[in-house]
């Protein structure tokens, strides 16, 4: 290969209290498609933002086209030829396609925008990527996939040498992805360096030439795609932390009755219809990569999103899931993966956060008595080891692990029959992680049903009695608890290179 167009050496980025990236090296060559892989919190977005000047570097050096650079704003990086297309289309849906492509550098005559020339130029750029739509049409009149392609047209309109695509495919269907890939290949053949972030392994193997894997802010591996098997890729992404945590004692008791049964529950564009049975006193693990549909399953079961097919039975009776309240009344609790946006109420105290669900269920007129609240708070602060042990502290000031424990406690005080935990251990320290795992095991031993979602396979396999595997928004397998991490990993990786496909089908059929 030639000289890298982007060469990042020893990059570290720090946020208050967090080392988001630690000494990461990254290279990008002209005319290659380079996939950047990693789970949530691995540092993919941070690396991109470090490159485009959104985040300042704590350490390290960036060379662009051989010269050291230090962009301080995305506009600078863009002017230099590094264009970024984000997952959420960052265009103005209320403007026309031509304006979205050219605004800021539109052709002008005496300060007046030359509409005709602008549309002509836009049409040229659209033609370059083979997209034939009316440049004068309003952007929001097009489906999201086309909007994404328009964003790419804008990105390459500046003669970009580097094109960063941050999860551009997460909302596209197969045909749309194919169209996108066709365009990526056109650009690659023109010598553009493409940095591609996605969660879909199929796509990585289809389009990329090289793969860089990050995990927990560190560089794990950089390989030519052809030299990295799926199983190795998944294992690099998910990592293995064997031996770090104490072994959780597996319970010997048999699980009780089926508490919740989902029959053909699904939602178009979110997750394909699936069957699932969760029994009292068992922990069901949900394994899969980000974007595999694992979170969507949880949201459907809780009524946070509405299913458009299938039905849910609780204790054998059909449940009309009109929303979270219906689920809560049926004894289902759900702790979202997005702690900040959908979990904590940051400005309120630990006490208020802890009793929120209980209070919501009682209605405003029947407050949780102060004495009871204090008892509950004291109990759970001790039980879950919430620190600092100050009930009046605003929960936003606690560390991630302790916030997570407060959220766990919020649901435990309502004594649910089924507890759905979506990535309860993400981004928290090892100690807190072990504590949460132990609590989950204890709860199940006391008869609670738990649906446990985690990106860490070790963890899923260790705490679960059964493991459900998700891939590409489908349930692909259901395995017994004594399954090995490697088996699950093979199922998640899918593909043919390890001969696991056969096993998948069998598992699905069973």
């Amino acid at each position: 290969m030639t000289v890298p167009v982007v060469d990042m050496r020893g990059i570290s980025v720090e946020f208050p209290g967090v080392k988001a990236l630690q000494e990461v090296d990254f290279r990008l060559f002209p005319g290659e498609v380079h996939a950047l892989m990693g789970e949530n919190g691995a540092g993919k977005s941070t690396l991109i933002k470090a490159l485009t000047g959104v985040h300042p570097l704590a350490a390290g050096e960036i060379r662009y086209a051989g010269e050291p650079v230090a962009f301080t704003a995305p506009a600078q990086a863009q002017a230099a030829g590094i264009s970024t297309v984000y997952q959420e289309v960052n265009l103005c849906a209320n403007l026309t396609v031509a304006e979205n492509i050219l605004l800021g550098r539109e052709p002008r005559k005496f300060g007046r925008i030359d509409g005709r020339r602008m549309r002509a130029r836009a049409a040229e750029l659209l033609a370059r990527i083979g997209l034939h739509i009316d440049p004068g049409s309003v952007l929001e009149s097009h489906p999201i996939a086309v909007q994404q392609l328009v964003a790419i047209a804008r990105a390459v309109a500046v003669d970009a040498r580097v094109l960063v695509l941050d999860e551009p495919t997460s909302s596209l269907d197969a045909d749309e992805v194919a169209e996108l890939f066709r365009i990526i290949r056109v650009l690659r053949d023109e010598g553009v360096a493409v940095l591609f972030v996605t969660h879909f392994l199929e796509q990585v193997y289809e389009i990329s030439d090289r793969i860089t894997v990050l995990r927990n802010g560190r560089l794990v591996a950089e390989h030519p795609t052809a030299a990295l098997s799926r199983i190795d890729l998944v294992s690099a992404m998910l990592g293995r932390e064997m031996g770090l945590l104490e072994e959780i004692e597996r319970r010997s008791g048999t699980p009780g009755q089926a508490f919740l049964v989902a029959e053909g529950v699904g939602r178009k564009g979110s997750v394909a219809p699936f069957d699932l049975e969760i029994r009292s006193g068992e922990v069901v693990g949900l394994a899969g990569l980000l974007g595999s549909g694992r979170t969507e399953v949880a949201r459907l079961l809780f009524g946070a999103d509405k299913a458009d097919s299938g039905r849910i039975l609780v204790n054998g009776k059909p449940l009309r899931l009109t929303g979270p309240r219906a689920a809560i009344e049926a004894g289902v609790a759900f702790s979202s993966e997005d702690r900040k946006a959908e979990g904590i109420v940051a400005d309120l105290s630990v006490r208020d956060n802890l009793i929120l669900a209980m209070q919501a269920a009682r209605g405003w007129a029947r407050p949780v008595p102060r004495k009871l609240a204090d008892e509950l708070v004291a109990k759970y602060i001790e039980l879950l080891d919430i620190r600092p042990a100050d009930p009046d502290r605003a929960v936003g000031n606690l560390s991630g692990g302790n916030q997570q424990k407060v959220l766990l406690a919020r649901w435990l005080v309502t004594q649910p029959k089924l507890l759905i935990l979506d990535e309860p251990t993400r981004g928290i320290d090892v100690g807190a992680k072990a504590q949460i795992q132990k609590v989950v095991a204890d709860l199940a031993a006391e008869g609670m049903a738990v649906l446990f979602i985690s990106a860490e396979l070790e963890e899923v396999v260790r705490v679960s009695d059964r493991v459900v595997v998700m891939r590409d928004r489908q349930k692909v397998a259901e395995l017994d608890g004594d399954v090995g991490v490697d088996d699950v990993m093979a199922l998640i990786a899918g593909g043919g290179d390890h001969g696991v496909d056969h096993g998948v089908e069998k598992a699905v059929a069973s």
Binding site: F302, R325, E342, I344, V345, A360, R366, P367
Partner: protein, 326 residues
């Protein structure tokens, strides 16, 4: 919490000191015929309607809302009461009617905001515009004067202290009690701070929002009764004109953010007092009373800048959580 109230307290203290310097007898109170008189009493009495409306507004703003229609609602309350009394009705029944009608108007606002999901500022703009028309419809465009000793008590009566002050303080106490003794305060703040988390925790946001708009309308109604009772007349055009702006200012000066979330009733009380004291101060230090508005503008800007989300540090660098796209 304490920190948030620092600037309003300082502003109020500064205003009071200024008054004492100019008028040494500013703090003196005298008892005459069992009625308490004095500059401080005047401030409290004149500020009573604003305080009432600001209390309702505080809860609305805490849920990320705003209610522009309170001035019009106040006018309607006065109009209904005076028209009914003028037609020979019982003043108690008249006031009851007014409160009931205004509760319905609050339900209407709450319906637009919580059920139809219309932005609060536009949803309440409808009633702000139409409300004065409705008030004039009720009074048939006249200024309806009444002669009812019972009704006069609401705004101009005394029970050692002016009754208007007692009503406002009673409502303040009631709100404080209800929001703290029930879970209403907690749920209002939780909806205001993080609506999606609240929804997932099972909070009935719709009921909460509906409740605060009804409460705001009721506060406005009582304030409207005070205003109209004070002059024993209903003026559909001018009663409660711009009082929604004063109320919003009182809330904001009191440290409750227009972005919703944590609210402070004490802050709102301080805010209302600052606004009223300012008006009085301008008068006592001998500036033309009409110019009060200029001072109001200056105080608003000063207090808001002190509490602005983006602070200016020494050296002029601007800090804030703006600018970093998620």
């Amino acid at each position: 919490m304490k920190n948030r109230l620092l600037w309003p307290v300082l502003a109020l203290v500064a205003l009071l000191i200024l008054n004492v310097v100019v008028t040494p007898t500013f703090f003196s109170l005298r008892l005459q015929d069992g009625h308490l008189y004095g500059s401080l009493i005047d401030i409290l009495r004149n500020g009573a309607p604003t305080l009432l409306i600001a209390l309702g507004m505080t809860l609305v703003i805490a849920t990320r809302g705003i209610d522009l229609s309170v001035g019009a609602v106040a006018a309607i309350a006065g109009a209904v009461t005076c028209t009914h009394i003028a037609a020979g009705g019982n003043p108690w029944v008249a006031m009851g009617l007014a409160l009931a009608l205004c509760a319905v108007l609050g339900l209407w606002n709450g319906f637009l905001v919580s059920v139809l999901g219309i932005q609060p500022i536009i949803a309440t703009l409808v009633l702000m515009t139409a409300g004065r028309g409705i008030a004039m419809l009720i009074t048939e465009g006249q200024i309806v004067t009444v002669d009812s000793p019972v009704y006069r008590q609401v705004g101009a009566g005394f029970l050692v202290l002016p009754i208007a002050i007692l009503i406002s303080l009673a409502v303040l106490g009631l709100v404080a009690l209800v929001t703290r003794r029930t879970a209403l305060g907690l749920l209002i703040e939780s909806v205001g701070v993080n609506p999606s988390a609240s929804r997932l925790a099972g909070v009935r946001a719709r009921t909460i929002i509906w409740t605060v708009y009804v409460f705001a309308a009721l506060c406005a109604a009582v304030a409207g009764l005070m205003i109209s009772s004070n002059v024993s007349a209903a003026d559909a055009n001018n009663a409660g004109l711009w009082i929604e702006m004063d109320a919003i200012l009182a809330v904001v000066i009191g440290g409750t953010s227009l972005a919703g979330g944590r609210y402070s009733l004490t802050g709102t009380l301080l805010g209302a007092l600052i606004i009223q004291t300012l008006t009085t101060t301008v008068y006592t230090i001998g500036i033309k009373p009409e110019i009060t508005l200029v001072f109001k503008a200056v105080v608003v800007i000063a207090v808001c800048l002190m509490q602005a989300p983006v602070r200016v540090r020494v050296g002029g660098r601007v800090r804030g959580k703006q600018g970093v796209p998620a």
